[in-house]
Assembly symmetry: C2
Homo-oligomer: 335 residues x 2
């Protein structure tokens, strides 16, 4: 490959002039520029981004670590991050921690070693303090936490308004007459799921708290077992799943139990499914604004890079409550 030196030689100018036409970093006489452009053409010269990054100590790239690249919601966030990054001329370096704290720490270290200009991180469920330390280290770059946000985090964050939306959802279901819920709440080490559970609590009057059932299990098998047991106990008129995997497990249980939706048990899910319209019955769902969250994370990151000392912000994007057949129709008798 031709280098900038060769281009300069052919154009009969210095390398610095070539560099400046390349980057538009200082005025260049039209005639000179023309010769340079011709030389570039002739040699098929291409800038070496690695050398450039080395010299400028910025890479024009950002790193993204997701906790589960297999989940559609995270795939959408990746999509959003890529979109926003590309729009700003940044390339995206992607890593997946697969919910493993060790891999998460490795991924962050690798990205930092690659000198990404900034980092977006969707923490895994049980991520240790090693990562946090890594993000604070003196070779670290600005970081934005995505989806799983923490109170009092020193970082910028973007999440969803989980608590409020769950409150709204339960409110709606109560209006429809439901009083006894089964909340499939999931892994309570995940902030998102904690927030959803809080929203649930918010919406239930103290006097009725005792009538509610919750399943906190983590692995699918235990979830299924928990839900099945709760259904057998048979008090809930409505099941709420706090995430897609939990929804899948729950729906399987409902089916196995031979319970029809919404006639016998109403059902609603957070995060939902890609083509919910095609399900029968269609399922009431809280749509995560995943793509937009990815975009927002990039925006926050760039703000942070621009002003490193501004105080950290936490953004919460609104989720959309999409009411469908699974929570519809029958009006329960007042208890």
């Amino acid at each position: 490959m031709a280098t900038i030196v060769e281009v300069a030689r052919i154009a009969g100018v210095s390398t610095s002039t070539v560099s400046h036409v390349l980057n538009g970093t200082r005025p260049v006489q039209p005639a000179t520029r023309k010769r340079v452009v011709a030389a570039i053409e002739e040699t098929g010269y291409r800038q070496d981004a690695v050398a450039r990054a080395m010299r400028r100590s910025r890479t024009d790239s950002i790193g993204l670590v997701v906790s589960d690249a297999g989940e559609p919601a995270f795939a959408e966030m990746v999509h959003g991050v890529e979109h926003a990054a590309a729009a700003r001329g940044l390339t995206l370096v992607l890593a997946n921690s697969a919910e493993d704290p060790e891999r998460e720490e490795r991924a962050v270290s690798t990205l930092l070693a690659r000198r990404v200009d900034g980092l977006i991180l969707a923490h895994c469920a049980n991520s240790g303090r090693a990562v946090r330390a890594r993000l604070e280290a003196d070779d670290a770059r600005p970081a934005v936490l995505l989806d799983r946000v923490f109170d009092g985090s020193p970082h910028d964050q973007v999440g969803a308004d989980n608590r409020e939306t769950m409150r709204r959802l339960v409110g709606h279901l109560r209006d429809a007459g439901h009083r006894r819920f089964l909340l499939v709440a999931g892994d309570q080490r995940v902030p998102t799921l904690v927030e959803r559970r809080q929203g649930f609590r918010d919406a239930i009057p103290d006097a009725e708290l005792a009538e509610q059932t919750t399943v906190d299990a983590v692995d699918p098998a235990s979830v299924r077992a928990g839900v099945a047991a709760a259904l057998r106990a048979g008090r809930a008129t409505c099941v709420i799943a706090a995430s897609t995997p939990l929804a899948v497990a729950s729906l399987e249980c409902l089916r196995d139990a031979g319970l029809s939706t919404p006639e016998q048990v109403a059902f609603a899910a957070f995060d939902g499914f890609s083509h919910s319209d095609l399900f029968r019955p269609t399922i009431t769902t809280v749509r995560q604004p995943a793509f937009e969250m990815g975009e927002a994370a990039v925006a926050l990151l760039l703000d942070r890079i621009a002003s490193p000392d501004a105080s950290p912000r936490t953004l919460r994007l609104n989720q959309r409550l999409e009411l469908r057949e699974s929570t519809e129709g029958h009006r329960l008798r007042a208890d």
Copy 2:
């Protein structure tokens, strides 16, 4: 940040020794090594991957360009690529062409400028020759084509056995008595969809060819119009959609036409949906081995990097035909 020079100074050795300790590239006296390690510890030194890449002229990274990061199938391929890359200590640089040839070309150029060690590319539908030229340029790196494979391509490729699987699917439906199909074939500039259409042709006896209907429209609205018209013409007993977006459009039409599945019209789709089990009726689907295709692409790429002169290979992974309710049940009377 501490550099290798500082570490060397503190350990009282040369930078070359530090480098060799770091990379295990030549034997080092245990005592010396210990001092180096201590100095690394003390300074919190971290290797700078950019400087390293510059000097070695390899980045230990690979680039991936997908044509539609929003499609679940591509998201799965990204996942597979990331998985295989990480397992081999490579980082992944991700770009999305969003089915736009210009963005595709830009993405390839950017990745090449970043000196990725190799490239995986899922061509967009109408990708021009500019990209092809770019892949051949003298600063290019080895490339593997993903999903959308071309006869006589000079590159390694990994796709799916679309033609065979479509043949099998139609064979099965014929066994069930169907004779008149509506194939929603989609954009015939996409090799995948061409192959599926070929498989369809393969499975239909010449004498019956005239009885078949096909919709080749590209944008969703035209697809819906085409399908609606074909349904009104009313000859098909079975609809086959060649991709997920086509399936969505088709199902909407079936619903709008008030046709029940499978009683009035059978239905099957390629690529399918994430949670098909939860649909009612459950839908017969051809599952793309997307994750595995991503993994395979990485394997091919590394083989290629290892032996640049081996002749190019095209891998076709098997798809899985998952028969479900939407093509089940009723036995058609023989025509």
